[in-house]
């Protein structure tokens, strides 16, 4: 217990680092991943505006990024990271690979959210003379909203966990704290506390996300 109090400033620092990483990576992933997910849906073969070749290319690119083990991606894009944030260590440097990984991850979820809506309302909208943009904005995104909120929740939770790995580039964060103090230094109580904090964090995100999705979902 004494040790926990001793480590309190670092624990708080680690939590702030986690918030920073998630707070930057997830919004950017949502901002860029949503249009990418819509693009993947719209141009898929048999969809509203099929572009089979281009779609296959972009989809392959997304798959490639998605299939990289996160640690390898982290190392592989170091030159890019340096280019973007000017450094390859620290929290800022960790945000870059997290974001790069989160964009295709989130895009796929959005694509799924839209695909599972079914074609009925889109067909009705086409019959009503809607433009493609109107269909996306007024129909697809409206009906997919609860699903997309759920996807933001899932992505956030996943990346709280992913962010534990960024200790490799000195990224910090609560997960890294658990590994450094708890695991490497055999301070089991410290590790337990850190993990409990992560569980609480994840639970809070999940409950909040569920709540929000529920409020926006009028389908039941």
């Amino acid at each position: 217990m004494q040790r926990i109090i001793e480590l309190r400033p670092e624990l708080i620092q680690a939590l702030l680092e986690t918030f920073a990483m998630i707070g930057v990576a997830i919004p950017i992933a949502v901002l860029l991943g949503t249009p990418l997910g819509i693009w993947l849906f719209v141009h898929a073969p048999g969809s509203i505006a099929p572009q089979p070749k281009l779609h296959a290319f972009v989809s392959g690119l997304v798959n490639m990024l998605r299939s990289f083990p996160f640690l390898i991606l982290l190392i592989a894009i170091i030159p890019f990271t340096r280019f973007v944030v000017g450094t390859t260590v620290g929290t800022a440097a960790a945000i870059v690979p997290l974001t790069i990984n989160a964009i295709p991850y989130f895009a796929r979820l959005v694509e799924q959210n839209i695909t599972q809506l079914g074609t009925g309302a889109v067909e009705a909208s086409r019959a009503m003379g809607a433009t493609r943009r109107q269909i996306i904005r007024n129909v697809l995104l409206v009906d997919a909203k609860p699903g997309i909120i759920g996807s933001i929740t899932i992505t956030t939770v996943s990346f709280i966990s992913y962010s534990a790995m960024v200790g490799l580039v000195g990224g910090g964060g609560i997960g890294d704290f658990a590994i450094r103090y708890g695991y490497y230094r055999y301070e089991t109580p410290v590790m337990v506390i850190a993990v409990i904090l992560m569980v609480l964090l994840v639970t809070a995100v999940q409950l909040g996300g569920n709540r929000l999705a529920c409020v926006t979902d009028k389908r039941l």
């Binding site: 009925g120 309302a121 067909e123 009705a124 909208s125 086409r126 019959a127 009503m128 003379g129 809607a130 433009t131 109107q134 007024n138 129909v139 409206v142 009906d143 909203k145 609860p146 926006t216 979902d217 009028k218 389908r219 039941l220």
Partner: protein, 287 residues
């Protein structure tokens, strides 16, 4: 009003043999009439209906709406033309996360009606045509099938179209609700002068609602007759498919023993309750 001239629609999927869904069909639908298109699943009747507003572009042929060939229009012109052609579907196809009023307003927005107050007023007006204005703020999930279809009708009518295409409009509804919905379609045709095209597999629907009937099989119209003839007990359609469609009920060969083992039904309570479910339908229409 609507003239389909030598329409063919062929679906070509890569690596599969092409399927001819509509095979050289010509059909004239007079202004203000109700045309029924009947046939079994896979006969091509829904594809033919979707050819009219080019949801499915025919491979060959012309679609004339008041003399304009829709197949020659560019995207923008086609969108404008579609505002003249309302459509309703078997599955209603409402936007589930929007209220009833918002769903109707959406079609006005798509039609380019500026001003949210204008849209709101016209949506309310359209909803009152099908007597469902009181549900304006409800979400589709809280409506019955018949109510959803009425909202879909209001949505289609809001843009004041000249034509209403109905793709199996009552196939997901029970007989009572079907009667209500058909009554609204008949009223709309009569009072607003809208030309109605109904695709269905139920002879009851064409008998109750339409002026002209076209029977489809394997992508072709094999027979047509005035719907009035369906009310003549002597009437015999020319084709086997036509005869089957007007025949009474469904016949199934079963083992003769099964009837003996059935327990006779004695309790008949609950029938009145079933009738209460859609009181409007029992009255044969609206209040």
């Amino acid at each position: 009003m609507i003239s389909l001239c030598n329409i063919s629609t062929v679906f070509t999927a890569r690596g599969k043999t092409p399927v001819t869904a509509v095979d050289d069909v010509s059909l004239d639908i007079p202004k203000g009439s109700i045309q029924g298109i009947i046939g079994f699943s896979g006969a091509g009747k829904s594809t033919l209906l979707r050819n009219i507003n080019l949801l499915e572009r025919p491979t060959q042929g012309q679609v004339l709406l008041d003399g304009t060939d829709l197949t020659q229009l560019n995207d923008e012109e086609l969108r404008q033309a579609r505002h003249q052609i309302g459509m309703i579907f078997q599955g209603f196809n409402l936007v589930n996360n929007l209220t009833v009023a918002q769903n109707v307003e959406l079609s006005l927005k798509f039609a380019g009606v500026k001003g949210s107050r204008d849209r709101r007023e016209r949506a309310a007006e359209a909803l009152s045509i099908v007597d469902i204005a009181e549900k304006a703020d409800a979400y589709p999930a809280h409506l019955s099938g018949g109510q959803k279809q009425r909202v879909a009708i209001a949505r289609a009518l809001a843009t004041r179209p000249r034509v209403l295409l109905c793709d199996e409009p009552t196939s997901a509804l029970d007989p009572f609700t079907t009667a209500t919905v058909l009554q609204y379609l008949a009223d709309i045709n009569r009072e607003l002068g809208i030309t109605v095209v109904v695709v269905t597999h139920e002879m009851e629907v064409v008998k109750a609602l339409t002026d002209h009937v076209a029977v489809m099989e394997s992508g072709r119209i094999v027979e047509r007759f005035p719907a009035l003839q369906l009310h003549d007990p002597q009437f015999q359609p020319a084709t086997a498919i036509g005869k089957y469609l007007v025949s009474d009920g469904i016949q199934v060969d079963r083992a003769p023993t099964s009837a003996d083992t059935l327990t006779p039904v004695t309790a008949v309570t609950g029938v009145e309750r079933a009738l209460d479910r859609e009181p409007v339908a029992v009255a044969g229409g609206r209040d």
